[in-house]
């Protein structure tokens, strides 16, 4: 968990450095701020609202979620994207007052459509699939597994410069899995977050 947070902080630092270096200098024309390039990298932090009520009972209604996303233009406003994110939680099992820990990671791939509204403002819509892995340590046991399900999301972005932009988005991804004990799990949930990105 700490290692993941460190990774995110490091990526955020790199991103901020690159963004600052790309800010327009005095006298640059406004059109110079229009993002260009075919590759996009986005780091974002979010709140994930778990889909599984049993999960929420133990670990809470929302969990911090961190994600790194990359995209590549393929034709005009269409692009392909991939993302990896994770969230974790600790909680207490009420009946026995024992600690429980869980971790889920979401690996997603899909396609998106980018719509530019103004030179600085734009919006995106994405669809794809997620492979959601989970692991839980509780009551002396460790249970893990995964499931595959759809993912969809919309977002709006604002470009600071030719390469840097900020984005706010809402995603939904969901998968299901059955544990060896026969428990039906609902993985993923709604993801509401914001991030900073580079386009080059």
């Amino acid at each position: 968990m700490i290692r993941h947070i460190r990774t995110v902080i490091l990526l955020a630092g790199i991103f901020i450095g690159l963004s600052l270096s790309a800010l327009p200098a005095a006298g640059d024309s406004p059109t110079a701020t229009v993002p260009s390039g075919h590759w996009t990298v986005l780091a974002r932090t979010a709140l994930l609202f778990p889909a599984d009520a049993e999960y929420r009972n133990i670990y809470g209604e929302r969990r911090p979620y961190f994600e790194l996303k990359v995209g590549a233009d393929i034709y005009r406003n269409l692009y392909l994207w991939g993302a990896w994110g994770f969230f974790s939680g600790t909680g207490t099992i009420p009946l026995v007052d024992e600690k429980a820990e869980s971790f889920q990671n979401i690996l997603s791939f899909g396609a998106g459509f980018r719509l530019r509204i103004t030179p600085r403002l734009g919006a995106r819509a994405e669809v794809g699939f997620s492979r959601i892995g989970y692991k839980e340590k509780a009551m002396g046991l460790e249970v893990s597994g995964s499931g595959i399900g759809p993912r969809a999301g919309v977002s709006g972005f604002y470009s600071f410069s030719r390469t840097a932009f900020a984005e706010v988005g809402l995603d939904w991804t969901h998968a299901s899995s059955t544990t060896p004990d026969g428990l039906q799990l609902r993985l993923g949930g709604w993801i509401l977050g914001a991030g900073l990105g580079l386009r080059f």
């Binding site: 460790e142 249970v143 893990s144 544990t179 004990d181 026969g182």
Partner: protein, 789 residues
């Protein structure tokens, strides 16, 4: 000539006439009573004719009261004597008795007619009856827990025995001394303890040489006069000797946690608490010789012996009879060889939990363990010199080991996470499952056919991983056969796979296996279909199998006799009691499905009204022996104690927790050597701590993790008030022994309640719980009913 003719005898004269010669009348010589006062014997000077029916001509007088006789007969030993049976109350010791006769038809054998006689003195031989007084508990006293009943008994000759009763139910008896007790001066040594009839109900059992371990019990057991039986009676190890009489094996009250057969005829007993033995040493183990009750201490040393395995015995022996055990000391477990004296010899140690293990005949030990730190499961072989071999494959989950008659070892193994190795494997080699050269090769999953599974059910996964299927029981070796029972989901048939003989039996209408053993080539399976119980017998050699319907009797233990008959013990829901019975005959098998019902169940004895469980018994065959009479379900511990000048004290330890609270009548009856009896009674009030136990199997879910625990709720009602230092939570799995899983401290006698969570349970296993309240001395002062979940 006439002088030669007997008087009174008709003479057949040849001269045509006859005369009657004069015959003398019998003369009264003496009269005496028997020791019981029920018969007066009159002696005459000559042989008498049978006086049957002529008792009315006799009478006797005690003081001024005239009494009659009910019968008259010649004494069987002496024809000169007539025995007259007293009609009504027996003549008492010290009574002045006189006997009279009114002339009638009584006469001598030679024809002489008895003349009347009056008030002839009768020697009073009536024995002085014994005296007995219940010393404690006193009248109306409140008692609880293990209560000692103390009675003082004396007699002018000797006290033959003292019997103790509660509410008219005989608990047990204590044999008296052969010498006069009342004449002993104060301080004289007490008579030696004699045989004590068992408190627990007993029933006849006979069978092959076998020790059947059962449950820690305070009630039912099985015994046969002429056999040796050892049983657990209220945490006491007791035995029945060759006469079927029990005697004490231990000096004090050990908490027996585990008993099983040892080398030879020995019996290994594991005490939950260290046991003080004759030499003053504390032992955790004792090796008992059931033939005479002698024991040898086996010092384990620091730590405690692990004994809560699913299948593996806690103590195992190699081919030379050396005993091994797994000793826990903190986080470390040690494989130890248990010596006759001194601490156990450590062979191997690791921070791990041993889940199953097997001592092979050559002293090699197979360990199926789980590392404490990583939780990784492994399989290791420890040779007698301590060398450890391990297959490269990890993790390996081993469910069970079976050592066949030829030394072959079978094991059920699987990869814990993937199930790719699932199956029953033959562990190769006689001296270890891998040699030095093989140490780096995987034992399982290897392409070499030698390591291919002998039995891989279905799709290659572990049976327990197939939804609805689960390994539930295992058999021991019989020739080259091993057995596993696969339980189907509700409503499906039980499939037995017998490997490597590769036979399969399909048992219809059975959805649960309670017990399965293979003995003498006979497979015995007890199972259930709903509430109906069935027993299956299968001859591995002939393939003949049969099934019997037992109705509401649930078999919990059985022994195969030499003639193939099955001696079984089970619980009858109809009788609300444990019963013993026989499964007789063999049926036929139709293909792979048992359809015949050619065997029958015959109930032979009811073991107890309110049993606490079964016992273990070791029996030798003695078909002609008679069973010991049943008695109440108590744990007797009666011994004569120090003579206090007025007689001997006789004590009886009464486990009052087996009786309901309330007023009960204690009665002590002394019987002297002549059969005279005396009794004393006193009421007492049993006021044990009442423990009401409720237990449920609770599903505990985090999110993706699911476990099961026993949720116990106990209410405590202390009517005493009785000092309670704590509560013991006891649990047994299936037919195993009760083990203490928790000790909950308590203070004072206050009414209270508490809860306990038993984490964690195997969902497929059946658990039975019991709560005991104990005082500071460790005595049980309250006991709950058993609850099975």
């Amino acid at each position: 000539m006439l002088a030669d003719i007997p008087l009174g005898v008709p003479i057949e004269a040849s001269a045509g006439f006859s005369v009657t010669a004069a015959v003398g009348a019998p003369i009264f010589v003496s009269a005496a009573t028997d020791v019981a006062g029920t018969v007066i014997t009159i002696t005459f000077n000559k042989a008498m004719a049978p006086p049957a029916g002529e008792q009315g001509e006799f009478s006797f007088k005690i003081g001024g009261t005239v009494r009659a006789f009910s019968t008259a007969a010649l004494d069987g030993q002496d024809a000169k004597t007539i025995d007259l049976t007293v009609d009504g109350a027996a003549i008492a010791h010290g009574d002045v008795v006189k006997v009279s006769y009114t002339k009638g038809t009584v006469g001598a054998a030679d024809g002489g007619v008895l003349e009347s006689f009056t008030d002839q003195a009768v020697t009073n031989n009536v024995d002085n009856p014994p005296k007995i007084t219940i010393v404690s508990p006193s009248h109306g006293e409140s008692v609880f827990g293990l209560t000692t009943i103390l009675a003082n008994a004396s007699d002018d000759v000797r006290v033959a025995e003292v019997d103790f009763f509660i509410d008219g139910v005989k608990l047990g008896e204590v044999a008296g001394d052969t010498a006069s007790q009342g004449a002993k001066p104060p301080g004289q040594s007490a008579p030696a303890p004699k045989d004590i009839l068992p408190g627990p109900p007993v029933a006849k059992t006979m069978g092959a040489e076998k020790i059947e371990s059962g449950q820690n019990s305070s009630a039912a057991t099985a015994s046969t006069a002429g056999s040796i039986a050892v049983f657990i009676d209220g945490h006491r190890l007791r035995k029945l000797d060759s006469r079927g009489l029990p005697s004490r094996v231990m000096d004090d009250d050990p908490e027996v946690a585990f008993v099983q057969s040892g080398p030879g005829d020995g019996l290994v007993v594991l005490f939950r608490t260290p046991q003080l033995c004759d030499d003053g040493s504390a032992y955790l183990l004792a090796l008992i010789d059931p033939s005479d009750g002698s024991r040898t201490g086996l010092h384990v040393g620091p730590g405690s012996l692990e004994h809560d395995y699913k299948f593996s015995p806690a103590v195992q022996a190699d081919g030379e009879g050396r005993l091994y055990g797994i000793v826990r000391n903190g986080a470390f477990v040690s494989l130890c060889r248990l010596g006759d004296s001194g601490p156990a010899q450590e062979i191997y140690s690791d921070a791990a939990n041993i889940e199953e293990w097997l001592v092979r005949r050559d002293g090699t030990v197979l360990l199926a363990g789980k590392s404490s730190g990583s939780g990784e499961q492994w399989l290791r072989s420890v040779s007698s010199n301590g060398a450890v071999y391990e297959p490269a494959s990890r993790p390996v989950k081993t469910d069970w080991f079976l050592e066949m008659a030829d030394g072959t070892v079978l094991a059920s193994m699987a990869d814990k996470t993937q199930g790719v190795y699932a199956g029953v494997y033959q562990i190769p080699g006689d001296s270890g499952f891998l040699d030095e050269n093989e140490a780096q090769h995987p034992l399982i999953g290897k392409a070499d056919p030698r390591y291919a599974p002998l039995f891989a059910p279905g799709d290659g996964k572990r049976p327990s991983w197939v939804p609805g299927l689960e390994w539930t029981a295992l058999g021991s070796s019989a020739g080259s056969a091993a057995a596993g029972a696969v339980r189907g989901p509700d409503g499906t048939d039980i499939i037995l796979e017998l490997r490597p003989v590769a036979q399969q039996i399909q048992v219809p209408n059975l959805d649960r296996v309670d017990r399965l053993t293979i003995t003498g080539g006979i497979l015995c399976l007890a199972g259930r279909s709903g509430i109906d119980n069935r027993i299956v017998i299968y001859d591995l050699a002939t393939g003949v199998a049969s099934i019997a319907d037992l109705g509401g009797t649930r078999i919990e233990d059985f022994v195969v006799l030499d003639n193939g008959t099955i001696q079984a013990v089970g619980y009858s829901s109809a009788r609300q009691a444990y019963v013993a019975g026989l499964v007789e005959g063999m049926g036929t098998r139709n293909g792979s499905t048992i359809t015949a019902t050619g065997i029958s169940w015959r109930e032979t004895a009811v073991l107890a009204a309110e049993p606490r469980g079964l016992s273990l018994s070791r029996t030798t065959k003695d078909p002609g022996a008679a069973p010991v009479s049943p008695a109440a379900g108590l744990g007797p511990n009666a011994v004569p104690r120090t003579d206090q000048g007025m007689g001997d004290n006789y004590t009886f330890n009464w486990d009052t927790t087996l009786w309901p609270n309330g007023t009960h009548q204690i009665k002590a009856v002394a019987t002297d050597s002549s059969g005279q009896t005396a009794s004393d009674e006193t009421p007492v009030i049993v006021t044990n701590v009442l423990l009401s136990l409720q237990a449920a199997r609770v599903e505990v879910r985090a999110w993706a993790t699911l476990r099961y625990m026993g949720s116990l709720s106990v209410t405590v009602a202390n009517p005493g008030p009785i000092q309670v230092s704590g509560f013991l939570v006891l649990r047994k799995t299936g037919n195993g022994n009760f083990q203490v899983v928790a000790e909950i401290p308590a203070s004072g006698p206050a009414l209270s309640a508490f809860a306990y969570q038993d984490k964690w349970l195997v969902n497929s296993a059946v658990y039975t719980y019991r709560i005991e309240a104990v005082n500071a001395a460790g005595n049980v002062v309250g006991r709950s009913a058993d609850i099975t979940i």
